[in-house]
């Protein structure tokens, strides 16, 4: 896994469980890996003032976001002894129950993956210009804010 060239982290719509399963499968040829840790963000059907979230519509300042994802990746490889790291984020509509964020880290040792994954997910939440619009069942909306 090279970690030097910036890539496009975004994919249109939800991230499917097949995609995730297949990504795990591809790592079975890498026999120096002893531990994988995967974070998945899933859209919640939150109830707010009696209305239920049915989907989140994601937009992003894509160029800056991909640059930030790249910086997070570089700094994670610098801090932690990782074999592989992959990040995928949805754009467009992701329905409640579907997956919008997939972060996958692998290392020879388990302690490393726990620390690295949390570092990466927190950095994504804080530093990457992605905007989620929570769509209610009646088609009204509100803007999501990360805590």
């Amino acid at each position: 896994m090279t970690h030097k060239k910036p890539k496009n982290v975004f994919q249109q719509g939800a991230i499917t469980s097949e995609f995730i399963g297949n990504s795990i499968y591809k790592h079975q040829t890498k026999t120096s890996i002893g531990a994988h840790n995967i974070f998945l963000g899933q859209v919640r059907a939150d109830e707010i003032d009696g209305k239920t979230v049915s989907a989140i519509e994601y937009t992003a300042y894509e160029d800056m976001a991909n640059q930030k994802f790249h910086e997070i990746r570089e700094s994670a490889f610098e801090k932690f002894d990782l074999t592989c790291m992959h990040i995928y984020h949805s754009l467009g509509t992701v329905k409640a129950g579907e997956i919008c964020l997939f972060v996958f880290v692998s290392s020879p040792q388990r302690k490393v993956v726990f620390e690295a994954l949390e570092f990466i997910v927190e950095a994504i939440k804080a530093d990457v210009p992605v905007f989620g619009k929570e769509i209610f069942e009646d088609e009204s909306h509100q803007w999501k804010i990360n805590n």
Binding site: T59, A65, K125, V128, F131, W143, N146
Partner: protein, 77 residues
């Protein structure tokens, strides 16, 4: 100089557009912001950060002619 300004999320709801070009004299981010506040009166009720050339900048930063973006609170993931 002509500067491209991008709007995202709830900021784009206020401006009713995703992007525009504005002719401005060289000055600071703060000066540009005054122009925008005059043009879009609801902007002052909104929380946002400003990026120039894809890096967050403070109000005192000088305009370089690079792309400006008004970014509401991030909510990825």
């Amino acid at each position: 100089m002509l500067i491209t300004i991008k709007y995202f999320g709830q900021i784009a709801e206020v401006t009713q557009k995703d992007e525009e070009q504005i002719e401005t004299s060289k000055g600071s981010i703060l000066e540009l912001l005054s122009t925008l506040n005059a043009k879009y009166s609801d902007l002052k009720h909104k929380e946002f950060q400003i990026a120039q050339n894809q890096e967050l900048v403070g109000l005192e930063a000088k305009l370089t002619g690079a792309e400006i973006a008004l970014l509401p609170p991030f909510s990825g993931g």
